[in-house]
Amino acid sequence: MITLNINGRAHKLDVEPEMPLLWALRDELGLMGTKYGCGIALCGACTVHVDGEPVHSCSMPVSAVAGKRVVTIEGVSPRGLHPVQRAWIEHQVPQCGYCQSGQIMAAVALLRKKPRPTDADIDVAMTNICRCGTYARIRTAIHAVAKPAKA
């Protein structure tokens, strides 16, 4: 038995220690917002937070996250929408939407570390693949979140 702390709740799972976190989330816990895209920690569709850091859950064994705080798209904003999610709506980012959970998780982590990211910061942090080409709107939305609220 492995105990995982997911979105603030403890889950006891009877799974192999080497099972990737992604498949524990999706097929054991039914948290379907985190997506499979490549399985080799490249595309970012499976991005979640582990102790606040963005992590590719497809390549992270559950044994490595035991005792750590895992946050998925379902838990990124316990009450209402996260400012990043609101900016995503405001700037009409998603097209097919498949990669967007991972994009949002990566953006939330970036903004937590760098509340005013430069374009270069965004290029380095946001390595998630989007085949629909929502990149320009992702950049705009991240900058919009970073803007100070008007007085």
């Binding site: 379907m32 399985g39 798209i73 998603p94 939407g97």
Partner: protein, 716 residues
């Protein structure tokens, strides 16, 4: 089984009413929505259901794969319905109901940028018809002539008395009235929704991780499958040793299919781990030695084949070339490409006796239904198809190979099974953009005018597999798109075609042949302009004098990009024009190239005439999307073949553009309002040639074979 068409319609209404925010609930818990019964929505017609609280549910027959159908198509209905837009919800029209109701929703096929251009009229009529029925129901209640009543913002008003009824109050009565035979559609000048940017209806849920894509279908008892298909296309399974796999945790079964083996388990990762433990011996068939080089050599034999078919002939090209003051000749080549949708191919199937249910992200619900029926060996009336959101489509999901597999697997294990391909399977078992070789020869007269053009295309045919009846006497006109209808006025012209089909399956890859062929045509026209010592924009202008739509977008893009205006040192422009999928588009790309071949794309300006721009912001998104799709392919896209199989396996060797590679994109819409064109594909057609022409302008290097990475270029 359902007793009658009416009963079926009633059941469907209950489902529609119960599912609330769309199809998600029904999908997450199949059967539940059906059992819950209705909360009272009234189906005014097949497209429009109105609830007592005035919520309008608009059915969508085509698939939502990112291109915005779940918003743009309902806009067309709502425009005429006169309902408040913020009360509109979209839901899929189920393919099985479609079959039972005599295909009431028209075509469900989603491809060729056809959704809007093929259905705009019947969708607007559906809205207008429903509106007239709502007005008639209110007029009946008031005992006044319908002509004295008007509908606006989900309210019907009797103008003389000022009495008002909300849509939700009369929808039930309206649904029982006969539909009017003729309804007049608004003049475009009266449109309130069409032509004004509306927020996508599917955005709020898409930022929460809640939408149900095919891979997200989930219900108790559902098993998971991972599949290994013959690495060499068209190969067979010779033998499988599944002993080790069967002993692994969670594994339920090993299922052998035609040319594939699947492992079924209680978790996809376990299924995939066990799949890796299988010992499969493949019968590779005759193609185990095929390579990219052998394919290219074979395709190129079509360039000199004396038995080529004539696609287009005008004047006398031989004489024209012989008399020319100067000739230009070049050969071009384009590789296989994978669609690489972010969501890999998948389908959930549940075969119970002669009943089959599938949940699938497909671009063609009717084809998915027919495939499921044939795979299970049941009648089409025994199949239910639940469409999910699509994590990208780009043409790949017009094929239903994964549906057939999922049905076979479920039937074999007697349980519901969700089959998902690994990325590696997805990369190596696509329906690739066809390889194409082209040889072109142009003749210029002493004044530098194009007087003769000979084009020879050797290509794999998509239609040869999917619609062989459309190939007449060896001529695949579809494979000549962009050439057979080239708008350039050339007095002596010959276009020939030689089909060269390889063992690699090919299919409709976004913008289809209007990606390779425009790269050939528009690059070559650039070469010819250069040889004539002419400006490539002015050279095209003259040749397009009698093609106002091409000329229109060409002029628009030149103006918006400032063609001819001075640029900073080291910055250069390329231009290209290409109509496709019912719309006209042209692109100017501005870039700089470093000594190491790193290309900084500073600006992509795209001018489009799609006739009508239904949802402007959604159309901007499609231009951005086409730029990324087109640039990714032009720089990096190539599926190579070795030992009969595709060599690329994942995103590490099939590279994608990332956010840092995204150039500034400017979309310029110049709709002329006299036709309805496509939007999801046309903006891509002129991307690759505009890029290659700009690189030529910057470096003097003419790119005649894609991708650019093979010539030492990369995105800076």
């Amino acid at each position: 089984m359902r007793a009658s068409a009416n009963a079926s319609r009633r059941d469907f209404l209950k489902v529609s009413a119960a599912v609330g925010g769309g199809f998600a609930l029904e999908l997450a818990v199949p059967g539940l929505a059906r059992a819950q019964g209705g909360s009272g929505g009234a189906e005014v017609n097949a497209w429009v259901v109105i609830r007592p609280n005035d919520t309008v549910v608009i059915r969508v027959a085509r698939s939502e794969m990112g291109q915005g159908n779940f918003t743009g198509l309902p806009m067309l209905v709502a425009e005429e319905l006169e309902c408040e837009w913020n009360r509109v919800r979209a839901e899929y029209a189920p393919p099985h109901e479609h079959l039972r109701r005599n295909r009431v929703w028209g075509s469900m096929a989603t491809g060729g940028s056809r959704s809007t251009r093929d259905s705009h009229e019947y969708l607007r009529k559906a809205g207008a018809t429903a509106r007239e029925m709502l007005i008639a129901a209110a007029a009946q209640q008031w005992r006044v002539p319908a002509s004295e009543c008007r509908a606006a913002s989900s309210v019907i008003t009797h103008q003389r008395s000022g009495r008002r009824l909300r849509f939700g109050q009369v929808a039930e009565a309206a649904s029982k009235l006969p539909p009017p035979k003729d309804v007049k559609l608004k003049d475009p000048s009266e449109w309130k929704l069409i032509g004004k940017s509306q927020r996508r209806l599917d955005t709020p849920e898409k930022v929460t991780g809640k939408p149900v894509f095919g891979v997200d279908v989930r219900f108790p008892g559902l098993l998971h499958a991972s599949i290994a298909q013959s690495p060499v296309f068209k190969g067979k399974v010779k033998a499988v040793d599944g002993a080790a796999a069967r002993g692994m945790r969670g594994v339920v079964d090993v299922v052998q299919l035609d040319g594939a083996v699947a492992v079924v388990a209680d978790n996809w990762w376990r299924a995939n781990q066990a799949l890796k433990a299988l010992k499969i011996e493949w019968d590779e068939g005759p193609n185990g030695n095929v390579t990219s080089a052998s394919i290219k050599a074979f395709v190129r034999t079509g360039l000199t084949d004396p038995d080529a078919r004539v696609g287009r002939r005008q004047g006398d090209v031989e004489q024209g070339l012989a008399a020319a003051a100067k000739t230009v000749e070049a050969e071009y080549y384009a590789p296989f490409l994978n669609h690489a949708t972010m969501e890999p191919m998948n389908c959930t199937a549940w075969v119970r006796g002669d009943r089959v249910e599938i949940w699938v992200p497909t671009q063609n619900g009717e084809a998915a239904l027919a495939t499921a029926a044939s795979a299970a060996g049941v009648s089409e009336r025994s199949v239910e198809v639940h469409k999910t959101h699509l994590g990208g489509g780009f043409g790949r999901r017009g094929f239903q190979d994964y549906v057939r597999q999922a049905v076979h697997i479920s039937k074999a294990v007697g349980k519901p099974v969700k089959l998902m391909w690994s990325r590696e399977e997805d990369m190596q078992h696509g329906f690739y953009r066809p390889v194409t070789a082209t040889r072109m020869k142009a003749g210029l007269d002493a004044q530098g005018r194009l007087v003769a053009l000979h084009m020879r295309v050797a290509s794999q045919s998509i239609l040869a597999n999917v619609r062989p009846q459309d190939i007449k006497d060896g001529l695949d006109r579809h494979a000549l798109g962009g050439l057979i209808d080239s708008p350039y006025a050339v007095p002596n012209e010959l276009l020939e075609f030689a089909m060269r089909n390889t063992h690699v399956p090919v299919g409709f890859w976004r913008t289809v042949f209007h990606t390779q062929n425009p790269f050939f045509r528009e690059s070559f026209i650039d070469e010819v302009a250069h040889a004539a010592g002419r400006d490539p924009y002015e050279f095209r202008r003259e040749l397009l004098a009698s093609s106002p739509r091409n000329l229109g977008v060409l002029d628009a893009v030149a103006k918006a990009a400032g063609w001819g205006s001075p640029l900073p040192a080291g910055v250069h422009r390329g231009i290209a024009v290409q109509d496709s999928h019912g719309s006209w588009a042209a692109t100017v790309i501005e870039l700089a190239v470093s000594a190491k071949g790193e290309v900084t794309v500073r600006r992509v300006v795209s001018a489009i005439n799609p006739g009508h721009v239904v949802n402007p912001d959604g159309c901007v998104a499609q231009v951005q999307s086409c730029v990324v799709y087109g640039l990714t392919a032009a720089f990096y896209g190539e599926c190579t073949v070795k030992n009969g199989r595709v060599e690329q396996s994942n995103f590490h060797d099939y590279r994608m553009m990332l956010i840092g590679d995204m150039p500034k994109v400017e979309a310029v819409f110049v709709p002329t309002g006299d036709f309805w064109g496509g939007m999801g594909e046309p903006p891509q057609a002129s991307i690759a040639p505009a890029l290659a022409n700009a690189i030529f302008a910057a470096t003097g290097k003419r790119i005649r074979e894609l991708p650019l990475k093979n010539h030492g270029f990369s995105i800076a």
